[in-house]
């Protein structure tokens, strides 16, 4: 019997106000995968992630998560958004933020159970934020806040974890700790992560998808010429298969420059 893929995207296109963001994207990720979505700014990584979890609807094509429409399985998905648009002055403690990850509409709304609090404690301890549980979220540093958001995503005990730039402002020490944690989680659940820093994640991920309007999925083997072109910058190539290792850096130009000079 063929296993249902964790993520199945068939010929998906999406545009914002007539601007095409993604065109004819196909992608299939199996259960237990640890996939990085990489690509230049504005390439559509976050959009693709939001399409996967059903926060956006594709203009055409189909998204299947665990064999179902994303909205039907949304409670089995964990999501850590980028911090844009979240009200920093909001009067809420770290603990209460994580508890929003435990909300269950089928239950009475009143409050949270002891079990919820235990689960929140476990995830907060995992990201080293338990000591700050009573602090107001807006008083934390950016990196600390991101760790809380990761805890919130994990609090729901999801089958697939979607992380959008989870380490954007996390220091090196916590970054390493975080990826170790993710690797540990990956033994049980599928993880899909948006990250533009390929160097950091290369030794953790199992596959890479390059997103720049189109998508190039890459599961094992070499990164192709095509992919480098798509990424529009000298890519730090990743060798797949186990163990993962970084091959070499192409050139020394920074990311984001026009592609014509990159190869």
């Amino acid at each position: 019997m063929k296993e249902t893929p964790a993520v199945e995207i068939r010929d998906v296109s999406f545009s914002y106000n007539g601007q095409p963001v993604l065109q004819h994207v196909n992608l299939s990720l199996k259960n237990g995968d640890f996939t990085a979505l990489i690509g230049p700014n504005g390439g559509g990584k976050t959009t693709l992630l939001k399409l996967m979890i059903g926060l956006l609807k594709p203009d055409s094509g189909e998204v299947r998560i665990l064999g179902e429409a994303p909205r039907r399985v949304s409670r089995r998905l964990g999501y850590m958004p980028q911090e844009i648009g979240i009200n920093r002055n909001f009067p809420i403690s770290v603990m209460d933020v994580v508890l929003t990850g435990r909300i269950d509409p089928s239950r009475r709304w009143g409050g949270h159970t002891r079990e919820d609090r235990e689960a929140a404690r476990t995830v907060l301890e995992k990201v080293n934020m338990w000591a700050s549980r009573d602090r107001r979220i807006g008083r934390l540093s950016g990196g600390e806040r991101q760790r809380v958001f990761i805890a919130r995503a994990m609090a729901a005990e999801p089958d697939i974890l979607f992380l959008d730039e989870p380490t954007a402002s996390v220091d090196a020490f916590h970054q390493g700790q975080l990826f170790d944690l993710l690797r540990d989680l990956n033994k049980r659940i599928t993880i899909i992560i948006v990250n533009h820093d390929l160097m950091v994640i290369s030794s953790y991920v199992k596959s890479v998808a390059c997103v720049n309007r189109k998508l190039h999925y890459h599961d094992g083997g070499e990164i192709t010429e095509d992919m480098i072109h798509m990424y529009q910058c000298p890519v730090e190539l990743v060798a797949h298969g186990i163990p993962h290792r970084v091959l070499r850096t192409h050139g020394s130009k920074t990311c984001g420059k026009p592609s014509n000079s990159s190869s």
């Binding site: 958004p81 809420i92 403690s93 508890l99 269950d104 509409p105 709304w109 949270h112 107001r136």
Partner: protein
Amino acid sequence: MWEALQFEFLRNALMAGLLASIACGVIGTLVVVNRIVFLAGGIAHAAYGGIGLACFLGLPYMFGTFGFALVVAMIMAAMTVRDRHRSDTVIGVLWAVGMALGVVLLDLTPGYNVDLMSYLFGSILTVPATDLWAMAAVVTVVTALVFRFYSAFVAMSYDAEFARLRGVPVGGLYFLLLGMISISVVIVIQVVGLILVIAMLTIPPYIAEKFSDSLWGMMLLSSLISCILTLFGLWISYRWNLTSGATIILVNGAAFFLLILGERLRARHRRMKLACRPNPPLEDDPREAVR
């Protein structure tokens, strides 16, 4: 001051002020944290259409205005639910159309000479006892609904996308929130008038936000602040014979600017202290020193 309480109209005014304060504390908190102040203002002004409608049809003020404000709120909710952050044009249009409708409906009402000012700036001194019961009912309903859906409102207000993913019916809650805003606005219009509603809905929660660590704490605190400011405003207006609604708002405004001034001064004081102390003592927590 206390001898004033023998007058029934003043006792009613006090009661109306307290009820409006609770409604403002609870709903104003949700308005402020959801950043829909402009929308709340739109509903308040569009409610004027309801006043016109009530007069035109010969209905009691409360019923006509409740109904109309609720309908306007639902239209606004339907038009803004998809794109909450780019809804200002829609709100502006409904704001103006609602008010214009009110004026025209009053024109069409034969022989009815309405005291416009009392609706624009409130008529807390003429609130009848029956309206107090309606106000109490609204406050009870609103508080009960917020209590019932509290954790869902927290999740939605803090991060609507995430809440939606957890299965919270964000769209439904948004309609509910706007509905509650509309009925709260109608009772607050009694106190300070529709032009000044927005101040009462936003100033106490804004002050309370700075001192609260949770949404319910903010609701409680802003209700309390609102009560104190309203009573103080009422007392001043009685003592010096000033328009009560406007006086209440001025007291709110004074509190608002005093708070901002206080914050500025404190920040400056802290900077000065840091500047006078070039080398922080070593035993300080290093993280504190970095800040």
